[in-house]
Amino acid sequence: MFEGMKAQELKDILSAVEPVELKGVALLKRRHPKARQQFPVQVNAQALAEAAEELIDYQGKCEQARERVANLPPVALEAPIEEWPL
């Protein structure tokens, strides 16, 4: 039964999460290391569209997660703080 966790535990869990593999990032890595253009060129149109769609979808999910975290219910503080009423 879950009885809560400390902040450091949560931090450790989040730090261990592997970066998501996105097609757009994979395409970036295929860019020739000596290429002068900032972004890859001559990329297959289908691959480009799939990468863009995946990235936009990922951004949407991140935004939803961010809103859920922002709307989490507050956690009641159990530690007594005698100075609080002052």
Binding site: G24, L28, P33, R36, A52, L55, I56
Partner: protein, 324 residues
């Protein structure tokens, strides 16, 4: 190595290193594949310049606006546009792709060019303009038809539009109701013809001119998914009504028995009005109006949206005007 070469090598190395960093590679990929995301955070961001630029600020603003529309309402189109821009599309290609993408999903909405986006979803008005403007082509012959059928004042053979409308409309209301009650073709088409002639279809695009619409407080229709769906249906209604109008005009011109029935029934209604009868409240007026027999053809479609031709006209009348 020259200074320029050193700068180029530094830039190349930086991009290579960015691609290897988990967080920074995501940022670079976002900048590449979803520039609108960056624009939300930086209103001054030059989306056109980012991809190699177009010269006109107005062009960039329009393309930016079109991308926002696609992002909000047509996500697949948005992806297509972003991928196209990333592969080097110029303004004309982006514009063409945007218009084609909108028409692919909403084929009835008229999209002439990307410049159409700036004033909301395009609106084409087909109203007769009885009270706001003199009817112009292609409406002259329609005003003439109304005068031929409904005007009986021999002392004034050329009434102005407003007067003609005010005299004809009370008669037309009962006539339309009788036509609707026939619940078959070609009377549904005739009903739609008169509903259109007297700006009574309940469809803004068909009943109003642009001047009417603006003067009545109408505003441009914003680019939202709900509005796109509503406008697509409105344009379907427009096509059904105009097609019915054309069929009905052909009937009035060539089917002598129906034209005579129109004239006789208009005369009956007119006399009832002049005699002070409350013609529209008492249903017995409709018992006095007769129409030539026509076979009832069976409609297999259940909705006017899935029907064509005369069936669409009949089902449209049933959906919106004959719910009894």
């Amino acid at each position: 190595m020259t200074t320029i070469d050193q700068l180029r090598e530094a830039s190349t190395n930086m991009m290579a290193n960015l691609a290897d960093h988990p967080t920074l590679s995501l940022a670079v990929a976002t900048a590449w594949l979803n520039p609108l995301h960056i624009e939300h955070e930086d209103e001054d961001f030059d989306i056109g310049g980012f991809y190699g630029g177009w010269d006109e600020q107005e062009t960039r603003d329009i393309v930016r606006f079109a991308l926002r529309i696609a992002s909000a309402c047509l996500p697949k189109l948005f992806v297509e546009l972003v991928a196209g821009m990333a592969s080097g599309w110029d303004y004309a290609e982006v514009g063409s792709a945007f218009c084609a993408g909108v028409k692919k999903v909403y084929p009835h909405i008229p999209m002439g060019s990307i410049f159409d986006v700036t004033y909301g979803i395009p609106m084409e008005f087909w109203g007769m303009g009885w009270y706001t403007s003199d009817a112009e082509m292609p409406f002259d012959h329609l005003v003439e038809l109304v005068r031929d059928l409904f005007w009986f004042n021999e002392d004034n053979e050329d009434p102005d539009q407003e007067t003609l409308h005010d005299v004809a409309w009370p008669i037309a209301k009962a006539l339309i109701r009788s036509l609707i009650l026939q619940d078959r073709q070609p009377y549904a088409d005739l009903a739609l013809l008169f509903l259109y002639l007297f700006s009574a279809t309940n469809e803004s695009l068909m009943d109003l001119t642009e001047e009417d619409y603006m003067e009545s407080g109408g505003e441009y229709i914003g680019w939202t998914t709900d509005n796109l769906i509503d406008m697509e249906i409105a344009y379907i209604h427009k096509e059904i009504i105009l097609a019915a109008k054309d069929r009905a005009l052909d009937i009035v011109d060539h089917q002598v028995d129906i034209r005579k029935a129109l004239q006789d029934n208009i005369e009956i209604i007119r006399e009832a009005i002049e005699a002070g009868e409350d013609a529209f409240e008492r249903k017995d007026i409709y018992g006095r109006l007769t129409w030539p027999e026509r076979d009832r053809t069976r409609c297999t479609a259940r909705s006017y949206l899935r029907a064509a031709g005369a069936d669409a006209g009949l089902l449209f009348i049933r959906s919106y005007f004959n719910k009894d």
